[in-house]
C-alpha cells in the first residue's frame, strides 16, 4: 500500500511540474504576443472610457413626454428612427446581397468540392489545384476582393456580392470537401460497379449522403454573409454598410445607434430562423442509416 501512495505522489508531482512548465511557456507566449502587438493593459485602460464615451454620444436623447410623437418632434422615438424606411430598405438590400452571394458561392463550391475531396479527385493534380484555389478564395479577405471589384464594376452592391461569393466558394468548398471525404464508400462502389462514370458517382453515390450537411453549411454561411455584407459597404460595395460608414464619418451620432440597432435586430431574426432550419436538417441527417 505505501508503495502505491508513493507512486501516486510521484505521478501527481510529475503532472504538477508539467502543468507549471507549460503554464509558464504559455505566459511567456502571451507576454511576447502582447509586446509585439503593443497591447498593453495601460493602453486598454486608457481607451476604455473613450469607448463608453463614444457609445454615450451615439445614444439618442429622448424626451419622454413626446416619446410617441411624430418624427418632426425632437426627442421622440420616431425622430430617432426618422429614416427607418430607407435603412430598412438598405438592410433588406444587404440581406439580398448575402442571399445572392451565398447561392452563387455555394453552387460553385458544390462543383469544386468533389475534385477537392481526396476520395473523389480524379488525380493528385486536380486535387491540389482545386484545394489551392479554394484556399486563395478563403484566405484573401472579403474586403480586398470588394476593393478590387468596386474599382472594376463601380460603387454598388454588385462588387459586394461578388466579393462575398468568392469567400463563400472558399469556405464552403473546403467544408463540403471534408463532408464528401467522410461519406460512406459503399454506395460509391456500388455505382462504380454498375458502370457509372465520375459524375454518376458524385451525383448518386455521394450527394444523397451529404446533401443535408451541405444545406446546413450553406445556411450557416448565409448567416455569416449577412454580417459580412453589412460591413462590406464601408468600401463602397453596397448595402447598409455604405450608409453606416457615412454616418460614422460625418459623426451623426444618433443615426449610428439607430442603424446598429436595426442591423442587430435583422441579423438576430435571420439567425433565429436559419438556426431553426438547420436544426431541422440536422435531425433529418441524424436519422439516416
Amino acid at each position: 500500500m505505501p508503495r502505491i501512495e508513493a507512486d501516486f505522489q510521484a505521478a501527481r508531482r510529475a503532472r504538477r511540474n508539467a502543468t507549471l512548465l507549460w503554464g509558464g511557456v504559455l505566459l511567456v507566449c502571451i507576454y511576447v504576443a502582447a509586446l509585439v502587438s503593443e497591447a498593453s493593459p495601460a493602453a486598454i485602460l486608457a481607451g476604455l472610457p473613450r469607448i463608453g464615451e463614444y457609445f454615450w454620444r451615439t445614444l439618442p436623447t429622448f424626451r419622454w413626454e413626446v416619446f410617441f410623437a411624430n418624427w418632426e418632434t425632437e426627442g421622440s422615438f420616431a425622430s430617432w428612427m426618422y429614416r427607418a424606411d430607407k435603412w430598412a430598405w438598405l438592410i433588406f438590400e444587404t440581406a439580398q446581397m448575402a442571399l445572392l452571394a451565398t447561392l452563387g458561392g455555394t453552387l460553385v463550391a458544390l462543383l469544386l468540392c468533389f475534385p477537392a475531396a481526396r476520395n473523389m479527385a480524379p488525380n493528385a493534380w486536380v486535387y491540389h489545384l482545386a484545394r489551392r484555389f479554394l484556399e486563395v478564395c478563403r484566405t484573401v479577405p472579403e474586403i480586398v476582393f470588394a476593393l478590387i471589384f468596386v474599382w472594376a464594376f463601380g460603387i454598388g452592391p454588385l462588387a459586394g456580392i461578388l466579393a462575398i461569393a468568392i469567400h463563400t466558394i472558399g469556405a464552403n468548398g473546403k467544408l463540403f470537401a471534408e463532408v464528401v471525404e467522410n461519406a460512406e464508400p459503399g454506395p460509391v462502389e456500388g455505382i462504380r460497379a454498375a458502370g457509372g462514370n465520375w459524375f454518376h458517382r458524385a451525383r448518386f453515390g455521394i450527394l444523397p449522403q451529404v446533401a443535408p450537411n451541405f444545406l446546413s453549411y450553406a445556411l450557416l454561411r448565409f448567416e455569416v454573409n449577412v454580417r459580412g455584407a453589412s460591413v462590406i459597404g464601408f468600401v463602397g460595395a453596397g448595402g447598409i454598410g455604405q450608409e453606416l460608414y457615412q454616418v460614422i464619418a460625418f459623426n451623426y451620432y444618433e443615426e449610428i445607434s439607430a442603424i446598429v440597432v436595426l442591423i442587430i435586430l435583422a441579423v438576430a431574426l435571420i439567425d433565429v430562423v436559419s438556426e431553426k432550419l438547420r436544426m431541422g436538417l440536422n435531425a433529418a441527417a441524424g436519422g439516416k442509416g
Partner: protein, 275 residues
C-alpha cells in the same frame, strides 16, 4: 466463356491471390469458398477491375479484360454486375432510383449523363425497374427510401439493380453474410433463379459449405490465395475439406462465420435506423 489466366494480386508483401487459373463457361453458378483472407473477395473484385490484378490476364470470349480502360471498362462493369455484402445501395434514395442506377451506363452520350444527373429517367426505364422489383415481390416498396427496408429486401433490390444492367455475369461478394437464415435463403434463391431463368453466369463468394453445395453447380475452394479445389459439389467431401483446410466441415463453417461477423456488425447500423 470467362478465363482467368495466372491471376495474381499482391498487397505489399502479401499475396492475396496467387496464380489463379479458372475457366468458367457461360450459364454456370460457381461458389467460391474459403476462410477470410483466402483471397475470395480480391479474386471477384479483380474480375470487374474494382481491384487491379498485379499479374495475369482475364479473357472474356477472347477479349482481354485486363487491358480495358475508360468507357470500355465501364461497359465491362455493366456486363458483370456486382452484389455486395453490405448491399451498397444509396440509403437516402428511394428504391426505384436505386434500381435505375443499373441503367446509368445504358444512357449514352453527354445528354444521357446530363439527364441521369437530373434523375430524368424515361417511363420505359421506370416500367422496367418496377417489373424487376415485382419479380422479387418488392414493387410496393418502390417509392420508399432504401434504408427503410430490411437487409434481405435491400439485397434483393441490389439484385434488381444488377438485372437492370442486363449483365452477362453477376459477381456476388458474400451476398448473405449480413443476413439472417430466412433472408439468406430468399437472396440465394433469387440468385439461382436469375442464373436458371436468365442464363446469367453467377460467381458468388460464400462462407458456408452447405449453402455452396446446395445452390452451386461448381465449387472453387481457395486457401491462402490459391485454388485448392475446383469441381462439382459432390466431389467436395468432408475428407477433401479436411485435406485442404486441416479442419472438419463444422469447424470450417464456424471459423468462417466468425470471420465475416465483424464485417456483418456494420449492417445492423443501417438496420437500427429503420426501427
Amino acid at each position: 466463356m470467362l478465363e482467368l489466366q495466372g491471376l495474381t494480386r499482391r498487397f505489399g508483401s502479401v499475396t492475396a491471390v496467387n496464380d489463379v487459373r479458372l475457366s468458367i463457361p457461360d450459364g454456370q453458378m460457381v461458389g467460391v469458398i474459403g476462410r477470410s483472407g483466402a483471397g475470395k473477395s480480391t479474386l471477384l473484385r479483380m474480375i470487374n477491375r474494382l481491384t487491379e490484378p498485379s499479374e495475369g490476364r482475364i479473357l472474356h470470349d477472347g477479349q482481354d479484360i485486363t487491358a480495358l480502360r475508360g468507357s470500355a471498362l465501364r461497359r465491362w462493369r455493366t456486363d458483370c454486375a456486382m452484389i455486395f455484402q453490405q448491399f451498397n445501395l444509396v440509403q437516402r434514395l428511394d428504391v426505384l432510383t436505386n434500381v435505375l442506377v443499373g441503367r446509368l451506363n445504358h444512357r449514352p452520350g453527354v445528354m444521357g449523363t446530363l439527364t441521369s444527373l437530373l434523375c430524368l429517367f424515361t417511363a420505359e426505364e421506370r416500367a422496367l425497374a418496377i417489373q424487376a422489383l415485382d419479380r422479387f415481390d418488392l414493387a410496393d416498396t418502390a417509392l420508399q427510401r432504401a434504408d427503410t427496408l430490411s437487409g434481405g429486401q435491400q439485397q434483393r433490390v441490389a439484385i434488381c439493380r444488377a438485372l437492370m444492367q442486363e449483365p452477362k455475369f453477376i459477381l456476388a461478394d458474400e451476398p448473405i453474410a449480413s443476413l439472417d437464415p430466412r433472408n439468406a435463403r430468399t437472396v440465394m434463391e433469387a440468385l439461382r433463379q436469375v442464373n436458371r431463368e436468365d442464363g446469367i453466369t453467377v460467381l458468388t463468394n460464400l462462407h458456408h459449405l452447405d449453402t455452396a453445395r446446395h445452390y452451386c453447380d461448381r465449387i472453387v475452394a481457395m486457401q491462402a490465395g490459391r485454388v485448392m479445389f475446383d469441381g462439382p459439389p459432390a466431389a467436395l467431401t468432408g475428407e477433401k475439406v479436411r485435406e485442404i483446410y486441416g479442419v472438419s466441415e463444422d469447424e470450417f463453417d464456424e471459423q468462417a462465420e466468425e470471420a465475416v461477423k465483424p464485417k456483418a456488425q456494420r449492417a445492423p447500423k443501417a438496420g437500427l435506423a429503420i426501427a
